[in-house]
Amino acid sequence: MTAASDKRAAQWVLALPTRFPAPTAWLVSMGVALSLLALFLVSVGVLFAQGPGVWGNNIPVGWGFPIINYVWWLGIGHAGTLISAMLLLLGQDWRNTLNRFAEAMTLFAVTCAGLYPILHLGRPWRFYWMAPYVSTMGVWPQFRSPLTWDFFAVLTYLIVSTLFWYIGIIPDLAAARDRATRRRWQVLFGLGALGWRGQASHWQRWQQAYRLTAAIAVPLVVSVHSEISLLFAAGPIPGWASTVFPPYFVLGAAFSGFAVVSMLTVWLRWMLGLHALVTPRHLDMLGRLTLATGLMTAYGYVAEVFAAAWAGRHEMATLTARVTGPYAWSWWGAVLLNFVPLQLLWSQRARTRPLVLLLVGACATVGMWLERFMLVVTSLHHDWLASSAHRYVPTFWDWSLFAGTIGLFLTLFLLFVRLLPVISAFEVREEAVEGGGD
């Protein structure tokens, strides 16, 4: 593709919000999203009115859907920062078409994830006790606890990825402002653009800020999910107490993240007709990343099985329970959905097929959720003593809250798609001008 076409594309992207190409598709999606959002509100209302007993959680399975979904969402949230920050620092220009909405996706996924640890509490109205603040009680949080660090991890991640995303979008907001004809768009973009006039000094400061934030964000990608993994690794529960969890969690997170990015890419590409910008090459790169992280996750599975084999009777029992127990479907589901369709991505032709990418992504997304289910439920429902073993059955409210958070995510994402440039136009342009790309 040529620089000229790229320029046109860039301008076209900037004009997207003001001349939205697919209003009906958007409205339909938004309708679905909003109804799910309503379900979310109802679920939370019921939860607060009656207590966590509305879920299926029990003793031994004190952690159920809330923790499963928390880890799942947070994992998804990883790809955005990976793509943007890491690939930015690595100078992978092709990321420029993907990073904007990948970051947005991260933002909204982390928001959904962040809700769960609070909703999951027995007394959610006391969640702030996890924060270190000067209180009339004269006591502090316990800093040995992985949950305390969760609190910081998620908060930091949310703040940094917001900053990164926002800094990144400023120039486009300015451009969009300048392109906008209607007053209300001008004001909207204008406020967001913070008076950006694209002077050299602006660009220079912007570069500093952007790369600096990226530099901060990259270690977060590793640290946050490593920390989350400690939530399990710190517990003496067969199937949890494993020192290699952190890397597995990070890789799994990235895997699920790329899976979702692939799906969104294909979807946006179709809905907004971005074929000119999101070329087969981008799909190819996405496919490769998904394949790579997926294989690493698979390695994690193998290593876990291998470890269990010599980690003693209880670990072995848990492994057997995972493979043959009442929740075996979650283990097999995870293995099949994560790694079988993945093998398609070995072939270039498959990778560049949007539909294939979409399906593989969908499978991996579901598969990774099943993995989290397997991790939490199978390990807890029968841990050490035969006497304390008990089945866990999620209730309607478990599912409704989960669906609700998906609604929340979609709503936010669709608003973003509608109101802001979904693709970093100036970076695309830059790439074009610098004769980047191929």
Binding site: G62, L121, G122, R123, L385, A386
Partner: protein
């Protein structure tokens, strides 16, 4: 500060104005106090009458509504105002905030269970066993612990009912006066009194008076197929028996004699552990009981085989002229073992035969004992008096035939427990009922009179050992109810108060000193019956030939938790897991694994159980260790009226009582969810419960779990649970519930795995499901020194105390449930809903004010009864001394009849708990989890032979 502590120099003595503490200091003018005293008698010191004391306590109880209403656990925000209501007259029972204990008792099947009632501000908050009384020795059973909740049952009947409509006692008294006149005229013709077993001497005296006054009257006894001990009988002395053989008998099982037998068994078994003689227990039974689980040698045998086994046993020990039938090899092995055991313990053996067995079997057992000269292992008790009630069964024909004109049901519930009563009752002109609840019988009665609970009335009773127990009220009735004595008194037209009645029964208590002494000790001196010589052994009658074993045999027993249904209104008992099945809230048709396989049944499948022409329908529960073709059902469920809690739980099997004819089991449609607190009972290669073969054996030493030094402190609290002594009787579980305000959650939540018991008794079996080895294991919090839970909590809500306690701070907990996720023993409990704030005032008054009531979303767990430790600590501090050994007794430990649970300071080598832990049978549960639990277990000893037998 003690006076000898030197003060810094320059300290002035009390300067400023002089403070005075009493009127006499202020006004030393003589006679001033006297004037006051006559104006205000309450100021005059000296013993107040019990009644007066009662009404003062009552007033305070009334005031307590607000004070004891424990609110939620919020942090630092502003709280609503609260009223404070001081007493009008100083409570002579001591200062508010200080607990007082009163000796009293409750009854089960007419057998008194001696208790100490702990009262706070004049309201009972906990019941303990009475250590002064031989029938308790400080221990209780689950029923005794739960009696507290019966007292506070909000559904108790509050006012007399005339044909179902509330009325006044005045009108009831008129009615009874009229009735009295009529009976005097007719000499009592057509009058029948129906009661449960009556142990109270005072009540029996009243009944005797009634029968003497109205010769035409009859007294009927409703025992629902259980024995009436008041007729006298043998009292087993397990403490003296070195070899016990139980044939379809369950001496350790729930019932009026459980505490007596279990305490004695505990004594025997502990002596055995100490090397003093054997303590072997051979049990042959159709369905596993806690006696069977405790047995050193158990055999699953059909009821019809008991006679055969007995005959073989007789032959084995050399009783002449007994016809024996062929035995299977397991039976043979068991008989040999039991026979040898009895032979070795000649003179110190004991044979107990279930009362469902024919008299011939009883006689043969007696013959064997006579042959072995086992006299000392049982005490024969005489009948309490000459009164002999007629069995209730005889009442129905009379009623149906219209021979009964007036029926007074006193504290019994025949409409539920006596099939056919309702129909027959229609022919009775006047039906009166006195009871705690408006139950099935009350609904049939023309008059219902609310009875006062024993814990709020004056009475007396006979304990298991036959000695008499005075029963004094712990609180004045707040309902308009009257005692059973008062009700009979009304009928007989004597208006004495109950205290006088009781004292009249006991001439030796005529002087106040003796009376006070009796109330203080909770026993009436010299009331023990003179032991009569045991019945001469009848010539062993030929045993009835065993019925063909291909058919099913039906065993009907009272429910181990709600007994005959009279306790079905008690949530603590409804939610108490049954020892063998861990089922709560209801009953089931228990079948053997083999039978379940044959008929393709699984837990919860509905079946129709038919015996002759009667049948019931209920869900199946498969019980490993049950004899192949035995079907077991429990009485006491399927209540149709009475306490709301009782209604609609389980199904009623009374119709099957005494049913004859073949027993059949058919699959009915549908299935039910049974609320069991345990889903996996099989202990495969795991060693949760560990065994050693003989007394001499010890467990292999554990490898050092960690190179960190163990936590050091003094005191360092720890607990030792001897699984060789535990009989799984559940007394500890209910004691814990009562002490720690543990909420009940109901069947649905239990089925979801959300029961709240801080202390659970796990039950395992190992081996062939048709004849496995069973074991019980009480599991409180382990109070790990390296506690995983503590590390998980983000807000420091679960922390370690310097004296080794693993604490849960409810008001700090935000409910992340991490502690529970990390707990290898899963002993933590979570408030999934708000379980407490909607409790009615009665239940609030029943709570222990020293333990915080937990709100929604908060984790809770066993605290080693921290409130008791703190109380001891504060007392010791005030007296400037260390906490003494045995000063802290946890609720579970106090209740345990066999003293399986020992608690104390592990930093003292001489403490009881250290001694236990030092033994060779001590082990950590899940040592591989490396948590360093402070609660440890002592392995079970398979053999009961002092010199190291070779059994099991």
């Amino acid at each position: 500060m003690s006076e000898d502590t030197p003060l810094p120099t320059g300290l002035p003595q009390a300067t400023g104005q002089a403070y005075w503490r009493g009127l006499d200091e202020l006004v030393d003018e003589p006679g001033f106090m006297a004037t006051l005293a006559e104006r205000f008698p309450a100021l005059a010191t000296g013993p107040f009458s019990g009644e007066a004391g009662d009404w003062r306590r009552r007033d305070i109880l009334k005031c307590l509504g607000g004070a004891v209403a424990l609110a939620g656990l919020d942090g630092c925000e502003r709280r609503p105002d609260e009223e404070a209501l001081p007493a009008v007259v100083a409570d002579e029972d001591g200062t508010p905030g200080v607990a007082r204990f009163y000796a009293t008792a409750v009854e089960l099947d007419g057998v008194a269970q001696p208790l100490l009632g702990k009262t706070r501000e004049g309201r009972p908050v906990k019941l303990e066993g009475n250590p002064e009384h031989p029938a308790s020795l400080g221990a209780t059973d689950a029923f005794g612990q739960a009696a507290l909740l019966d007292l506070y049952d909000p559904d108790r009947s509050a006012a007399p009912l005339e044909r179902g409509t509330p009325t006044t006692w005045a009108r009831a008294e008129d009615a009874l006066t009229g009735l009295r006149a009529a009976l005097d005229a007719s000499g009592g013709a057509g009058f029948r009194l129906l009661t449960g077993p009556v142990g109270s001497p005072t009540l029996r005296r009243q009944i005797a008076g009634l029968l003497a006054r109205w010769p035409g009257a009859r007294w009927h006894l409703l025992a629902s197929g259980r024995t009436d001990h008041t007729a006298g009988g043998d009292l087993p002395r397990l403490d003296r028996a070195e070899a016990v053989v139980c044939l379809d008998a369950d001496p350790l099982g729930p019932g009026p004699w459980q505490v007596w037998n279990a305490t004695r068994w505990g004594q025997r078994r502990r002596a055995f552990q100490g090397g003093a003689g054997s303590a072997s227990l051979y049990v042959a039974e159709p369905s596993p009981t806690i006696t069977g689980v405790t047995a050193t040698r158990r055999l699953a045998a059909a009821p019809s085989r008991i006679g055969v086994l007995l005959a073989a046993l007789a032959a084995r020990v050399g009783v002449a002229g007994v016809a024996t039938a062929p035995l299977t090899s397991p039976e043979r092995a068991w008989v040999d073992a039991a026979g040898d055991g009895l032979a070795k313990a000649r003179g110190r053996g004991l044979i107990l035969v279930g009362k469902d067995q024919p008299a011939s079997a009883q006689a043969l057992a007696a013959a064997i004992e006579a042959h072995l000269g086992n006299g000392a292992t049982r005490t024969a008790l005489p009948p309490l008096d000459a009164l002999v009630p007629v069995d209730a069964a005889a009442l129905l024909p009379d009623m149906a035939a219209g021979r009964v004109r007036t029926l007074l049901v006193l504290g019994a519930n025949p409409a539920y427990a006596l099939p056919g009563f309702a129909e027959a009752a229609a022919r009775v002109a006047t039906r009166l009922h006195a009871g705690l609840h408006v139950d099935e019988t009350a609904q049939l009665a023309h008059w219902h009179l609310p009875l006062a609970h024993l814990l709020e009335s004056w009475s007396d009773g006979r304990a298991a050992d036959g000695s008499a127990v005075p029963i004094q009220p712990l609180v004045r009735p707040w309902l308009d109810a009257r005692s059973r004595h008062a009700v009979l008194g009304l009928l007989l037209g004597d208006s004495k108060d109950d205290r006088t009645r009781v004292r009249e029964t006991w001439p030796q208590l005529s002087d106040d000193a003796a009376w006070e002494e009796a109330l203080l000790k909770g026993r009436i001196a010299g009331s023990e019956p003179a032991a009569v010589s045991p019945r001469p052994a009848a010539a062993p009658a030929p045993l009835s030939p065993p019925s063909p074993t291909d058919g099913l045999s039906l065993v009907v027993r009272p429910d181990p938790c709600v007994w005959d249904g009279s306790l079905a209104g008690n949530p603590w008992l409804q939610e108490l897991p049954k020892p063998l099945t861990k089922l709560t809230w209801g009953n089931a048709v228990h079948v053997s694994p083999a039978l379940a396989r044959e008929q393709g049944l699984k837990n919860g499948d509905m079946v129709r159980l038919t015996a002759g022409d009667r049948s019931v329908t209920g869900p199946v529960w498969i019980l490993p260790g049950q004899e192949r073709h035995t079907v077991l059902v429990h009485l006491g469920h399927g209540r149709r009226a009475g306490s709301k809690v009782a209604q609609g739980v389980g199904f009623d099997v009374h119709p099957l009582l005494g049913a004859t004819g073949p027993v059949r089991l058919e699959r009915a449609d549908g299935s039910a969810t049974l609320a069991s607190t345990q889903q996996h009972f099989a202990m495969e290669e795991d060693e949760f419960v560990r065994f050693v073969d003989t007394l001499a054996d010890t467990l292999p030493p554990e490898p050092a779990s960690s190179f960190y030094p163990p936590q050091k402190s003094s005191p360092a609290w720890g607990m030792a649970i001897d699984l060789d002594l535990c009989i799984g009787c559940n007394a500890c579980v209910v004691a814990c519930v009562a002490e720690n305000n543990v909420p009940m959650v109901g069947a649905e939540q239990v089925a979801k795995g959300r029961e709240m018991h801080w202390l659970r008794v796990d039950r395992y079996y190992r081996g062939d499901p048709d004849d496995p080895v069973h074991a019980f294991q009480p599991v409180p919090c382990m109070h790990c020194e390296d506690a995983p839970c503590e590390m998980g909590c983000p807000v420091n809500a679960t922390v370690h105390s310097p004296d080794g306690l693993n604490l849960q701070v409810y008001n700090r907990c935000i409910g992340t449930r991490t502690c529970s996720a990390y707990c290898p023993y899963k002993v933590r409990r979570f408030n999934w809903f708000d379980l407490t704030s909607k409790d009615p005032p009665e239940l609030r008054a029943a709570r222990n004010p020293e333990v915080t009531v937990r709100s929604r979303g908060v984790m809770e767990k066993c605290t080693y009864c921290i409130q008791r430790i703190s109380a001891a600590r504060i007392t010791a501090k005030k007296e400037d001394r260390a906490i003494a050994e045995g000063e802290v007794v946890t609720a579970c430990q106090a209740a345990c009849p066999t003293q399986a649970i020992v608690f104390g300071d592990v930093s003292r080598p001489d403490s009881a708990v250290s001694t236990r832990k030092a033994g060779g049978r001590d082990y950590d549960l899940l040592a591989e989890a490396q948590t360093r639990p402070r609660t440890t277990y002592q392995a079970r000893i398979r053999s009961g032979e002092s010199h190291g037998g070779e059994e099991a």
